[in-house]
Amino acid sequence: MADEKPHAGQPSPPQEEAAASAGPAAPKPANPAAAKAAAGPAPGHGPAPPSGPTDPPPPAGTQVPAFIEALQAAFPGAIEQVSFWVGDWTVIVSADRLIDVAVHLRDTPGAKFDYLSDVTASDWPPRAKRFDVVYCLFSTTRRERVRVKVRAGDGDPVPSVTAIWPAANWLEREVWDLFGVNFTGHPDRRRILMPDEWQGHPQRKDYPLEGPGELLMENPLDWLRLRVAQDTADIE
């Protein structure tokens, strides 16, 4: 999937990524400028689709919170990356260690992230692991926030955190419904906002804004055949 390159101006995203991650100590304002220089709009095609979020590393001299350091010490290798932007800390975790990390974050005295604010996802189709599943955590005792992020490909299993935070139940159902992220171990994985018989996952970037009807309209003959088939079915 990552090898498919629909546009001519495709090589730009990897370059940009390299520019963004090359200088970990680079101050924040440098990133957009570097991105602009590297992106170089492909003539006639508009900007190429981005291949992933920037996830900038914390600038040099930023004090990493104690609970993140404790987490890195407790699970060496499970934490793929730590990112910091406009005051938000994000911990990127590999999917197979998610449950361990979640239990640690909920129960360790220095973390105590007992409140799951939100579970959501973002879709980056050019990337092999196209989904970012994002867990927004809050500690009601320490009044602090952190985000945990898991990268997953289409159909890759992501363990459900419903057993750790029951709040995840509906939120994961929504992510399954709208993105099709494959949560395993979920007690009740049904669609929640879309009708049960719906085909496809509407929040994906390759799903047209106006619904599947737009795809049919690209070839009016398809649309006509569908209409005729429906009419004959009605008569029968």
């Binding site: 981005p50 979020p53 604010s117 959501t120 973002s122 994002v134 709040a167 929640i192 929040q203």
Partner: protein, 373 residues
């Protein structure tokens, strides 16, 4: 000779359908109830009837066009939705908002909280059978809508904030009217209390109904007055102060029992605390510009953030991803408080009568426009 007594009748469970067109579900909510006699033994909440794909739509609109789409989510608290969105984009762009704009935003958000609580009180009391409160509460809500109409010309979907500040300064004499309203509302809250707080029917219907403990409420993700009724003082206005809240004195109302009655008391106290905040904000309203230094083209740098504020229903959070290239957010996500609170409904209604289901839907205060988006 001993025999085990045989029950005379089968106690089959009955499955009935409540909604989607049902006056007490406050919109199009369908609840499938499994009943044993008149007790609820199980339930399934079916939502999505009002799903308009606002998140998807926002990903193809530019940054300023989204403000008016946020109005359409929680349409009884549109100003709070505007505030949450604008603050998130300001956080991404690191914009400085003038102090006067912060103050006016706070006044609008707190007026909106009172209006939303008025609507909740009126409909919740009417669900339980108290018709008078409905008329009283809607009378006062009307006064707030008048204030909003005078400020921005709209009565429901305000589009009342801009990235970096406000579209309009307050009209002359508006602050005096707000002050007058605060005096009047103080009296009226007392009237609501006289009607309900010690009313025996009200006590019978709300005390001990839908009890949820603090730790359980936190685990299931309740927020706002529904969580504070269980004794957890989680309030974004105190925990992570936004707008001008850090400059005002106010208390966070918390309940003890975690039942419908305590959630009612919490919201009633929030009326008073909101009035307290509005008075301080109007008295201390600073002079100065209402819009900060905003670039002509709003395009946040690439990155992602989550920012939460306290809406009348609970924690409304915006998770926004910008790619820094296109003029629309790459990913736009709202953490809807009504959606997360509604998740607790099957847990709350278990073991209660069907009539209490109505009381509990009212008690968690949902707006289906926000649940389904």
């Amino acid at each position: 000779m001993t025999t085990t007594p045989q029950p005379m009748f089968d106690t089959d469970e009955l499955v009935i359908n409540m909604g989607p067109q049902h006056p007490s579900t406050h919109g199009v909510l369908r609840v499938v109830l499994r009943l044993d006699g008149e007790r609820v033994v199980g339930s399934d909440v079916v939502i999505g009837y009002l799903h308009r794909g606002i998140e998807k739509l926002c990903e193809s609109r530019d940054w300023t066009q989204i403000i008016l789409l946020t109005d359409r989510m929680d349409y009884v608290a549109a100003a709070t939705n505007n505030l949450g969105y604008c603050e998130t984009v300001e956080k991404m762009m690191q914009l400085e908002v003038p102090r006067r704009a912060h103050y006016v935003r706070t006044i609008l958000a707190e007026l909106q909280r009172i209006a939303s609580h008025c609507l909740w009180l009126g409909t919740h009391a009417m669900d339980i059978g108290a018709m008078t409160v409905f008329l009283y509460a809607f009378r006062e809500r009307e006064l707030i809508l008048d204030l909003f109409e005078e400020y921005c010309g709209a009565r429901l979907t305000y589009n009342s904030m801009r990235i970096g500040g406000l579209p309009l300064d307050i009209p002359p004499g508006w602050d005096r009217k707000v002050r007058e309203f605060c005096g009047l509302m103080e009296e009226k809250v007392g009237e609501y209390e006289e009607l309900l707080t010690h009313n025996r029917i009200w006590l019978e219907r709300t005390k001990g109904v839908g009890v949820i403990s603090g730790p359980e409420a936190v685990a299931i993700g309740l927020s706002g007055p529904a969580l504070r009724g269980s004794g957890v003082a989680k309030d974004c206005r105190k925990d992570e102060p936004y707008a001008a809240y850090s400059e005002f004195e106010f208390d966070v109302a918390v309940g003890l029992a975690g039942d419908t009655y305590d959630r009612y008391l919490c919201r009633l106290e929030e009326f008073r605390q909101s009035l307290r905040i509005i008075r301080q904000a109007v008295d201390g309203l600073p002079e100065g510009p209402i819009v900060g230094k905003v670039p002509r083209l709003i395009k946040p740098p690439a990155g992602e953030t989550y920012h939460a504020i306290e809406s009348p229903k609970g924690e409304i959070g915006y998770f926004i991803v910008a790619d820094g290239k296109t003029s629309a957010p790459y990913r736009f996500r709202v953490r809807p408080p009504s959606f997360c609170n509604l998740q607790a409904l099957p847990r709350l209604i278990k073991g209660h009568f069907v009539a209490d289901v109505v009381a509990l839907i009212g008690s968690i205060d949902i707006v289906l426009g926000e649940v389904d988006r």
